[in-house]
Assembly symmetry: C2
């Protein structure tokens, strides 16, 4: 039997053995894709399994993340640090082989996939990043390709359509997607829900489309060669495969998708193959095949390295730039540098952010990004930099089109690629359109910047469909994501400093449409205090505070106004500006207690849902929020109607019931308790 056939059998048996042992997983898709994967790895994919982060590598994306055993099998065979015992521990706590591939968790896994469609968006993002890196540095990044495998589910999800339209628009001829056309999804035959002509759809986007039998090895090799030689278009390969290929009864059934084949079917499958080995077996011939491939790749890498070394000595300046780029170096003086950029005039934080972003862009060449067709409103263009267009990848400004979700997945992959600090911008309300990608940026610990403007009902006339209410706290709920909502120019600079300093996680900006006043800081204020997320912006007049008002962004001015009125009535009021509740939570307890001492009554003001504040401010906190949908009207009218006024804040605070002592409360509670 030839080595390739043996390798295909190995991938199939490793996959079905692992799923069977875990008693959980997806055996059918790895079986259906084994032919393509083995040929791709042994003929096309450029990698160094001993140096998984080699900058000259190709990227492989398994968008069909549920077929993770396919990828783990390939990584094991290719010599990555993924021993057989990890495959035997598939889907177990602390194993390197989780249910869906997770980047940074398993060597060789380039991105976390599983939520369908995201991987296609990531593949497009990798292809863009490669062209951008090549445009900047040339040779070291040339000749790289991105290979992806996508499932029916990936094709049905809207995000893949958005990303694929962008891919053809940008003429990404370094991108090849195999569509695993196996005609089976969880509910059964795809004909119950999915009868479009996917290949023709991709032609309409502008891709080069090929149709093959996904088990015809000659056809696979030929199409790989065609894809490598394609110019000006990404390649889409409709590969007709059979889920559960090789299993006598499970083949072409929905049952093969998401459950172990069962001992009997596995035995039957192996018998038909003539596979008479223990579980998790890899024949020597297969080891030899991959060794030969790795040897060949080692030669390729040598050539690459020699050329890279030559490039470095010829381009000393560029080489230094590349090093800095890859290290994502941030100057120590960043905050001070950004503060210097602050314009004199008061403005909306989206406009201030634009000015500060220009300074950041000068300091950090890897800062690139764009908007989902809202740049004139989100104010996120980098001035003096070109747009990113087909054949013009030296630019820094993306035009993502009205495709928030694809923007999310593309930005994630640009961050994963390395070097770049990418951002994606839209209105805060439309963060809902890209929430799965934002979540993944956090799960993958990527420094992606999500710039959301028009961050409250104060966007005015566009009305409730465009006015965020629940978005601030719903973003704060994503573990690891920091939300920054600056109150004025200084805080906008601090917001950028926080975001650029958070190298292992994403940051979401919430910026105002409307002009905000600059708020005076206390004498001797150290700007670095803002980097702690929340801080005392104005101390109570005449001693210890008996009330602390905490506000964010555009509502900080209301806190300042309320303080003045309340102090005229004899209250002692501290104002805390909470630029980022998540960053504040990361501070030590002593600092947090110094800002929000336990036992002092607190009030929170934010133009959004009031749920959530009590965790920070206590259960009896007075919260002035908005717990209804907004309405279409000019912003000043909305402020009046929805209570975003100093008058309403003061009234709410004065009307709040006195704080009962715990002893009283316990009694009261006891008597009220008739339940």
């Amino acid at each position: 039997m030839d080595q390739v056939e043996l390798a295909v059998q190995t991938v199939k048996t490793l996959s079905i053995d692992a799923v069977q042992k875990a008693n959980s997983g997806h055996p059918g898709t790895p079986m259906g894709l084994a032919d393509i994967a083995v040929l791709l790895w042994t003929n096309a994919l450029r990698y160094d399994s001993k140096d998984p982060h080699w900058i000259g590598r190709d990227r492989f994306v398994l968008s069909a993340g549920h077929a993770s055993m396919l990828l783990y099998s390939m990584l094991h065979l290719s010599g990555y640090d993924l021993p057989l015992k990890e495959l035997e521990n598939f889907r177990q706590w602390d194993s390197k082989t989780p249910g869906h591939p997770e980047v940074h968790h398993t060597p060789g896994v380039e991105t976390t996939t599983g939520p369908l469609g995201q991987g296609v968006g990531n593949a497009v993002g990798f292809a863009i990043a490669q062209k951008m890196a090549e445009a900047r540095f040339g040779e070291p990044f040339s000749g790289q390709r991105v290979w992806a495998i996508a499932s029916d589910g990936d094709m049905m999800e809207g995000i893949s359509g958005e990303a694929s339209s962008i891919a053809a628009h940008l003429k990404l001829d370094n991108l090849v997607v195999f569509y695993d056309d196996n005609k089976i999804t969880i509910e059964g035959d795809t004909k119950i829900a999915f009868t479009e002509d996917v290949g023709k759809r991709y032609e309409a986007y502008g891709w080069a489309v090929h149709r093959i039998d996904g088990h015809d090895r000659k056809a696979i090799l030929e199409v790989i060669e065609k894809a490598k030689n394609e110019k000006g278009k990404p390649t889409f390969i409709v590969a007709r495969t059979h889920i559960g290929h090789g299993a006598p009864h499970a083949v072409d059934t929905a049952e093969a998708h998401g459950a172990p084949l069962g001992a009997e079917e596995i035995a039957a499958t192996k018998k038909i193959m003539g596979w008479d080995h223990p579980d998790f077996f890899v024949p020597e011939e297969v080891r030899a095949l991959f060794k030969a491939r790795n040897d060949a790749l080692a030669e390729e890498k040598k050539t690459w390295q020699a050329s890279f070394d030559a490039w470095k000595s010829k381009n000393a300046e560029k080489a230094k730039e590349l090093e800095a780029f890859l290290a994502k170096k941030i100057p120590d003086t960043l905050l001070a540098d950004l503060v210097k950029a602050i314009p004199e005039k008061e403005d909306a934080t989206r406009n201030l952010s634009n000015v500060i972003q220009q300074a950041a862009a000068k300091l950090i060449p890897g800062l690139v990004g764009g908007s989902a067709d809202l740049a004139p409103s989100t104010k996120t263009l980098i001035k003096g930099a070109a747009g990113i267009e087909a054949g013009e990848f030296g630019g820094r400004n993306f035009h993502f089109g009205i495709r928030e979700h694809a923007m999310g997945a593309i930005v994630n992959a640009i961050a994963l690629f390395g070097g770049f600090i990418p951002y994606g911008a839209t209105f805060l309300i439309f963060s809902d359109y890209m929430r799965p990608s934002i979540r993944l940026s956090s799960l993958m610990k990527q420094q992606a910047l999500w710039i959301f403007t028009h961050d409250s009902v104060m966007l005015g006339e566009d009305g409730p469909t465009h006015q965020p209410i629940e978005q601030l706290f719903s973003l704060r709920l994503i573990p690891g994501l920091a939300v920054v909502r600056p109150a004025d120019a200084l805080e906008t600079a601090a917001a950028w400093a926080i975001a650029l300093g958070r190298t292992e996680g994403p940051t979401a900006f919430a910026l105002s449409r409307q002009k905000l006043p600059n708020i005076p800081r206390p004498a001797g204020f150290d700007n670095k205090t803002m980097l702690k997320g929340a801080y005392v912006l104005a101390e109570a007049e005449g001693g210890k505070p008996d009330l602390i008002i905490v506000a964010t962004g555009s509502e900080v001015q209301l806190a300042i106004g309320a303080k003045k009125e309340l102090e005229a009535k004899g209250k002692k009021v501290r104002v805390v500006s909470a630029l980022s509740l998540e960053v504040f939570e990361e501070q030590d307890e002593a600092y947090r207690d110094s800002v929000l001492p336990k036992g002092v009554r607190a009030a929170g003001i934010e133009a959004g849902r009031s749920i959530g504040w009590q965790m920070y401010l206590g259960g009896d906190a007075i919260v002035v929020g908005i717990d209804r949908f907004g309405a279409s009207a000019p912003d000043k009218v909305l402020a009046e109607k929805l209570g975003l006024t100093v008058k309403n804040v003061v009234e709410k605070i004065l009307a709040a019931p006195a704080r009962p002592s715990d002893a009283e409360a316990a009694t009261k509670g006891g008597t009220a308790d008739k339940g």
Copy 2:
């Protein structure tokens, strides 16, 4: 000048006058679409402006919701209760003319649009609902069509691709979409981001595609006729239009999209038209045109009414059914009926829900729905009912494919259509993929049921990409949406009763993958108590509680277990089951205080983010939640590792610092306060 030309000019001038007066809005698109809209209204669209809810009407969907002045102009001219003074109050507080069209706010508006792509999904949903109503009741619903106008933005958003694939799959020949191909978006020419062949893409989905000049009235009329006669395919019309059509300088510019034209350009536009009238002027000839159209439609309606009356007398039984259907009648004994359906065996709430859903489906013929290709896992098929397929619209089970977002928009429109109570199902984690549609279901106050299963990390091996953490509270943040998370069989019945009883709002179910024990209720327990959202499930032994543990869903069993252990240590512990925090919030204060008396220390347990609980339980509540991403492992291992155990709950409660009296706390706070 002919009446049509005058009408087109009227629509254009009303639109630019309104935007100018509001100093906010989108004038260019109404100008570009005026030809199509006038011809559609005067030649094709079937409506009765004096009876906007006429069940025999066509539906019109302005997916490009920002062009709201187009719709308001048409509604005004067609005689809806939308006087000129409302157009003059465009985008003002309390006007009937908000920035984007809002259903139930403005007569004649069928759905709330503005978030791009949603309207295309709604249009598909309306077309499906019409075919379903026709399959059930015949004549009264026959001959209806759905007409939609979509923009470049609608075409770029993934949701429209998902919905359009479904539309062709279901052969919705009652659906016509005009694509306003004006080549301009906010960032400029569409060529910067959008160069695919949209018409060809729609051919690939399986639509009948026509290409016309959107200002050629003869072509518009011809294509409308073609669309009306199309069989077996929805119709997609690529209409090349010019944004700002008629404005000498603003035409074909991005500036015409989202800002007033300005007095000068308006004057120039009107001068070219020969329009010498005051602002907001409607010529008599135009009134006459629409009067003639309304008269013709009145005749059509008379015919329809006669045929409907005849149908009713011939089909007395069906007519009664139709009445009940349209009234969405829910039996008074609903909860009791559902409780009767509960199976004896303990089970996962997703399985229990399936059994109870069968009972609900028998009682409520309008209950229809489906899953985003997860029916075998979400357990949401209605037994004995057919699938909904092309030509088979008498069924009740949808196969939405792996298209959560389109599912959301389609379900919304089926609810809007009337009669049906639709549901859409997927895993809780994938609620993120359809969040914009869920939000709209709430903004539109629609009785849409969102059935989310696999509601915690306890889904196990699929890992963190599939394990919801922040989703429960992020859904709770959507104003007006009720989340129900049942703890056992009885609560699952109550969850359905709550959802079916909430006729003016959506409900999201959170159901477990894993088996849950049935929990004994106190003696004399009235099942109706569960409809209050939260209730005392187990009272403290031996007197007033000194601790109340509140839990939801699968964590209620942990609360019961912890109670037992803590009471063995001398604590007096009440357990409250919070089936729905939103429903609980709607109860009167006396009831809420009886369940959660102020002053009694509380603990919350839920397998999700801990942020949010403090609002309900007090700032010093002990919350046992999960504030990190999950991991891939068997569910029992995850429960141990992530602290979803009685042992951990008891430890957390015992380890919590004693509650300081407020007096102490104030002092402490004061001294800690060095900030």
